[in-house]
Symmetry: C2
Subunit: 224 residues, 2 copies
DNA sequence: TCTCGATTAATTTGATCAAATTTCTTGACA
DNA sequence: TGTCAAGAAATTTGATCAAATTAATCGAGA
């Protein structure tokens, strides 16, 4: 079917895909806490999907490191340890700035505009203590930028790292919600407008380092 | 059940796990070529497993980048492009040497011994043109080393990268089977014995670069 | 070239079996 | 008589399969 020169996308999105996205968002922006157990049957009711779609969503998220399978067939959200955090930090700090650098020369004015809009929505969310909205906005900001790079493999790695990081960040975010942290997104936007890949990469690096430090401190204090 | 002081592992390994390993090995060491289509029903017969286990194995491998889902419900082994290869190369060259460096101080004499044995089996495999055995040995060498690092997150990233790389490497390996390439594994073993993390990382880096170059050349020649 | 079956394969549901966990019961011992 | 631990029953949950449904593809005929 072709309307006005645009191919209409009327393919049905399968339930397992929808379920996967729902569950992933739960991990990413709050629904699930570190250490929390997840059951197939529970999700079957909560997301009212069948058993197979839920099963497949869990398998995918497990492969991505968002969930862990225990020997007893049980599934839960992994709790971060210092060792895991170090690895995640290393990987994020090498991969994500690289993605940003690759994205810089490919950013359209339209995409930059969109990034500005997304960022504009983040501060209000912080101010009204809406942690899920803050996390969603933050995630959207980064991955809207990353998508511009076209570096699919690196993006998927970053995605996996965010899934491991998310639940802990959520716990921590509540405590730092006063918004007195330096806003690296503004630096990033400036670099994006200037088309300066190096500067953009540095801004992203600083942003990540900030988040990692927050979680690391909370971890040492035993809050996560 | 406890026999002779050793806890007996009589927990049944679920079919979906077995199926996953089988399918992963097919991707990794040869069964599946780049671009090859994969069907659920086909695997059901080939691995004689039920539908659910096959389905879950495919979902996991898809999440790991070993397979791609097309909009039309079709699944296939992704074909490498120059852009993908660049990303994989970047990620492998930053992550795997890091893992090796982390592993160095934790290598037991026993593990080094095992690495020597594995490496000793690789040359004969090359000489008798046994590509699957060569690939299996190569994979085993790297990941036996990597496991010693205890860096689970980084290992999983490496695993995913190997899954993306494997099918193309297989195609290429057949052409270079004469074994006239410098053996980086020997350098790695030497560094391992000396406990020199930096040197070990460099050896692994060189080994990866070699493999990447081979695939890159084949890619430019349109052989993959 | 387009439309309409026919075919193939993926998706989804529901049922059944097996494993793990929790709850309940029972009896020994203080 | 009360406490607690061992064991058994009940419940919950996961694993697997088979059948029914739905989507995509292919080819014949208009």
């Amino acid at each position: 079917m072709d309307i006005g020169g645009t191919e209409v996308q009327d393919r049905k999105v399968p339930t397992h895909e929808v379920t996967y996205v729902q569950l992933r968002n739960m991990v990413l922006t709050g629904g699930l806490a570190p250490g929390q157990a997840v059951t197939i049957q529970g999700l079957t009711k909560e997301l009212n999907a069948g058993m197979t779609p839920v099963r497949e969503a869990i398998r995918r998220l497990t492969a991505e490191g968002a969930l862990t399978l225990h020997g007893n067939r049980r599934v839960s959200v992994p709790r971060l340890t210092a060792a895991l955090l170090d690895q995640i930090a290393f990987a994020r700090l090498t991969v994500e700035p690289k993605i940003a650098e690759l994205a810089a020369p490919r950013l359209s004015a339209q995409t930059i505009e969109r990034l500005v809009e997304i960022d504009a929505g983040i501060d209000p969310a912080i101010r009204r203590d809406d942690i899920p909205a803050y996390l969603t906005g933050n995630h959207l900001f980064h991955f809207t930028l990353y998508e511009a790079s076209g570096a699919q493999v690196l993006i998927e790695i970053a995605q996996s790292l965010w899934l491991r990081f998310g639940p802990s960040l959520r716990v921590v975010a509540a405590r730092y919600s006063e918004g007195r942290l330096p806003d690296r997104h503004l630096d990033a936007l400036e670099a994006a407008r200037a088309g300066d890949g190096r500067a953009l990469a540095r801004a992203i690096e600083a942003d990540i380092a900030q988040g990692v430090d927050m979680v690391r401190q909370a971890l040492q204090a035993g809050e996560v």
